[in-house]
Symmetry: C2
DNA sequence: GTCTATATGCAGATAGAC
DNA sequence: GTCTATCTGCATATAGAC
C-alpha cells in the first residue's frame, strides 16, 4: 500500500492552522491577550480546546505568529503607496480606508495592543520593534510634502502631523464603532481635516 | 479610660480607602480590570495584599466604586460648561484640556474601559448607562450651535461632530503618550481642527 | 489594624482514549 | 487527528497570628 500523499496531509494541517489563526485574530483583537481564553479561540474556530495545542504549543506562540503576519501586512500596505496613482490626499485617504477595513483592522489593533500593553510576550514586542513605526510614517513624508507643496495639506512638521493623524486613527480603532450592518460610521473626510488645507 | 474618638477612627479608615482608591485607579486605568492583580494595587498603595480585602470585599467592588466616582466627576465637568465664560471654542478647548489632565485622565480611561470591554462587572456597566453618554454631549449642543452661528465651528450635525470629536479624544487617551516630562504631546488646537471653521 | 499563611477556583497545558 | 479528562500554577479571597 502506497503512503498517502504527504503534501496533501501537510496542506490539511496548514489549513487547520489558518482556521485557528483567523479565529484567534478576531478574539485577540477584541479582548486582548489576557482577556482571551484558549477556550474562546477554540469555540470560535469550532474545535476542542485541547486540539489548539496540537497546532500551537502555547497561547503566546499563537499570538506571536499573528503579530508577525500583522506586521508584514502593515509593511506592505505602507510600501504600496509608492506606486499608487492619485494625489497625495487620495493616497492617504486610501491608506486610511484600508486600515479601517474590517479584514485589516484586527491586525492593526493587534499591533496597537503590542505597543500599548505590557502583558504581551516580549518576543511580540521585539517583532514590532524590528519595523519601527516611525519608519512606516517616514515613507509617507515625501507624499505629505508633495501634498503641502500642492496646497492640499496644512503647513507644519510632516512627521509630527502624520504621527498625530495615525495616532488618532489607531485610537479610533480601539473604540467600538457600532456599525452593526457594515456601514462605515467614521467619515474619513472629517478625519482628514486634521491634516488638510 | 474613655473610648477613643470614634470619628477619628472612621476618618482613618476613610483615608485608607482613599489611598487604596488612588492606587487602584492608576493601575486599573493602565492595565484594565483583568490585567490588574490585587497584588499590584496593594504594592502601589504600599500595603499588603490581604489588607485590601479589609476595605473592599472584592476586586469588582473596588472597581465599581471607582467607576461611580469617575462618572460623577465627568458629569460635573460637562455640567460646569454652562456657567463658564469664554467663546464656544474656548469652552470646548477647556473641557478638552481638563479631560487630558492626568488627574482626570484616569477616570475617563476607566469609563472608556467600561464602555468598550465586556470583562467588567455588570454593575459597572449599569452605572455608566445611568448617565447616558449622549446626554453629556447633548449638553454641549447649544454651545456648539452658538459656535456655528458665530462661524467658529464647521457646519454639520452638531451631535455627530461632537461625538466624533470625543471619540477621537477617548481613543487618544487609550494610547500611551510618551510625555515623560509632563510636556503635553497632544496639541489641542490641531485636534480642534476636526470641528473648527 | 496589619501581616503572613492557606484554601478555592479558574485557565493553560498535557495525557490518554477513540 | 480529535476529543475528554486530568495535572499544575497562579490569583482571588479567607483565616489566623501578632
Amino acid at each position: 500500500m502506497p503512503p498517502l500523499n504527504e503534501q496533501q496531509l501537510d496542506q490539511n494541517r496548514e489549513e487547520r492552522r489558518e482556521q485557528i489563526k483567523r479565529a484567534a485574530l478576531k478574539v485577540f483583537a477584541k479582548r486582548g491577550i489576557i482577556g482571551t481564553k484558549i477556550s474562546m479561540i477554540a469555540r470560535e474556530a469550532g474545535i476542542s480546546q485541547g486540539l489548539t495545542y496540537r497546532y500551537y504549543h502555547s497561547k503566546d506562540e499563537l499570538f506571536i505568529d499573528l503579530v508577525k503576519d500583522a506586521m508584514e501586512e502593515t509593511a506592505e500596505a505602507f510600501a504600496s503607496l509608492e506606486n499608487m496613482s492619485g494625489s497625495p490626499v487620495e493616497k492617504i485617504k486610501d491608506l486610511t480606508k484600508k486600515m479601517l477595513d474590517t479584514s485589516n483592522k484586527h491586525s492593526f489593533m493587534l499591533i496597537q495592543q503590542v505597543q500599548t500593553s505590557d502583558e504581551v510576550p516580549n518576543k511580540a514586542k521585539e517583532i514590532v520593534r524590528q519595523y519601527p513605526i516611525p519608519s512606516f510614517i517616514e515613507q509617507l513624508i515625501p507624499v505629505f510634502k508633495k501634498g503641502q507643496a500642492m496646497g492640499e495639506f496644512c503647513t507644519g512638521d510632516p512627521a509630527k502631523l502624520l504621527m498625530l493623524y495615525f495616532s488618532v486613527l489607531s485610537g479610533l480603532m480601539l473604540l467600538p464603532n457600532k456599525d452593526e450592518e457594515g456601514h462605515q460610521v467614521l467619515d474619513v473626510d472629517i478625519l482628514m481635516k486634521l491634516i488638510r488645507e
